[in-house]
């Protein structure tokens, strides 16, 4: 089956809808038009550029080139997570916590999937390795950013409660357990919801893409199930790891709250999500 070709005209037509939405926002003073247009422009530019890069990478199959792209993707995801926080760690931990937890969760799950499940040869084959990591990171990033933001915001607002619990002899883990639970839930609810609704309410993006590109539906379905399992476990492990690292920053070795010493609040988070 041939794919219906999409040209600049067709994409321009679709962009009119985004412009319409931006105009509506401007008209009603919703103040979302600027971030909307910037994000739309970024989507177009970033995807076009990555398209060029991928074309080149797919033809060469060079491990070092693939590793370089993974590193860039991971750094970009870490940067995104960091820039979505209102209460952030002082010093380099600001970037390190989100990035390292995504590295350990998304990256290791990608390697496991490529070597044990898909068994592609070579395992770093860019046609598989790059889109899979991209899909994993895109979702893990959202979960990790949401969970970290909830964790630090709640801790910032409820620090006196945390201190009183510590004063009663609770450990740091006990004193912050409600906040921990709420943050894990916040980070995981989107992926749990999309797994629950998959196939009933929505056809996930990757599967739709495969079907549109001419693959059979049952093959698209099997890949989609695989991806959903990877995303949910990657998000879950990433969220837990990032919160664990945050908690270590938040308390010292004697279970004393060091929130104001180790974190600071950005007063205006600008137009970040």
């Amino acid at each position: 089956m041939n794919v219906m070709p999409l040209g600049a005209f067709e994409l321009g037509l679709a962009s009119l809808l985004v412009f319409l939405l931006a105009f509506l926002s401007y008209w009603n003073r919703m103040e979302i038009e600027r971030p909307l247009l910037i994000a739309a422009l970024r989507t177009a530019v970033q995807l076009s550029l990555i398209g060029l890069v991928l074309n080149a990478v797919f033809t060469t199959v060079n491990f070092y080139l693939v590793a370089l792209i993974w590193t860039l993707m991971l750094a970009a995801a870490g940067w995104e997570v960091m820039s979505r926080q209102k209460v952030v760690v002082k010093g380099p931990g600001r970037f390190f916590i989100g990035t390292s937890s995504m590295l350990l969760s998304s990256f290791s799950i990608m390697v496991l999937t490529l070597t044990l499940v898909i068994k592609v040869d070579p395992w770093y084959s860019p046609r598989y390795a790059i889109p899979i990591l991209g899909m994993l990171l895109g979702n893990t990033m959202n979960g990790v950013a949401l969970a970290m933001n909830t964790f630090t915001n709640l801790a910032w607002n409820r620090w006196q409660v945390i201190e009183q619990r510590l004063a009663l002899g609770q450990t740091s883990a006990e004193a912050i357990e409600d906040i921990w639970r709420e943050s894990v839930r916040t980070g995981l609810i989107p992926i749990i919801n999309s797994m629950a609704a998959a196939g009933l309410v929505s056809l996930p993006g990757m599967m739709t893409g495969q079907i549109l590109a001419g693959n059979t539906a049952d093959e698209a379905v099997r890949y989609q199930i695989l991806i959903m399992f990877m995303i949910s476990s990657g998000t879950g492990f990433g969220v837990i790891l990032s919160l664990w690292l945050m908690r270590r920053k938040m308390f010292d070795a004697r279970d004393r709250l060091r929130l104001k010493e180790s974190f600071y609040r950005i007063e205006s988070a600008g137009n970040k999500k």
């Binding site: 409660v161 009183q164 510590l166 004063a167 010292d252 279970d255």
Partner: protein, 200 residues
Amino acid sequence: MNDLKVENLAFLQRGPYSFKVAAGSVLGLRGASGAGKTLLLRAIADLEPHDGSLWLDKTACTDLSGPQWRRRVAYLPAESLWWHDRVGQHFSVAPENEWIQQLGLDSEVMNWEVNRLSTGEKQRLAILRLLQHRPQALLLDEPTASLDRDSIGRVEAFLVEYLRQNSAPAIWVSHDQAQLERVAGSRMEILAGGKMRELI
């Protein structure tokens, strides 16, 4: 004996403080707002990083983990906060009925919603919550600040009896000189700049 010993305790450019509170006795502490009374109690509870050493009997603060020390040397903040919906959820060990009565609280208070408690009830319940793990020393930051005269009497009698029965030392912060004279065997004033002076 459970003496509480503070040796060269220094924190946040305050101190060093050195003093001892003997088992079963109360050190009354007063001082102007901002003089550092609360900070001193927090440092002794090991909630504030500090230099110097803290001892309860022969156990140094550093011999125990932070939470273990704070279960023995319990700190009651001036304002009590509650994080669950029901009172009883804040207790891992239910308080004795006798204690509930002695503090003039309703016998069903453990089943109450926190949001129906008055400030005075919260303050008395915070004392019960503090004592659930039977601490061996108490750090009390204005424990009767928002109570009426009857309740003040009950709380003073209750705490003094607890300290006597358990041979527990206590530091009792209050702005009320008469109260300190009633409950404390020795009294100190904490001065701006981190010095202390004995009150007669």
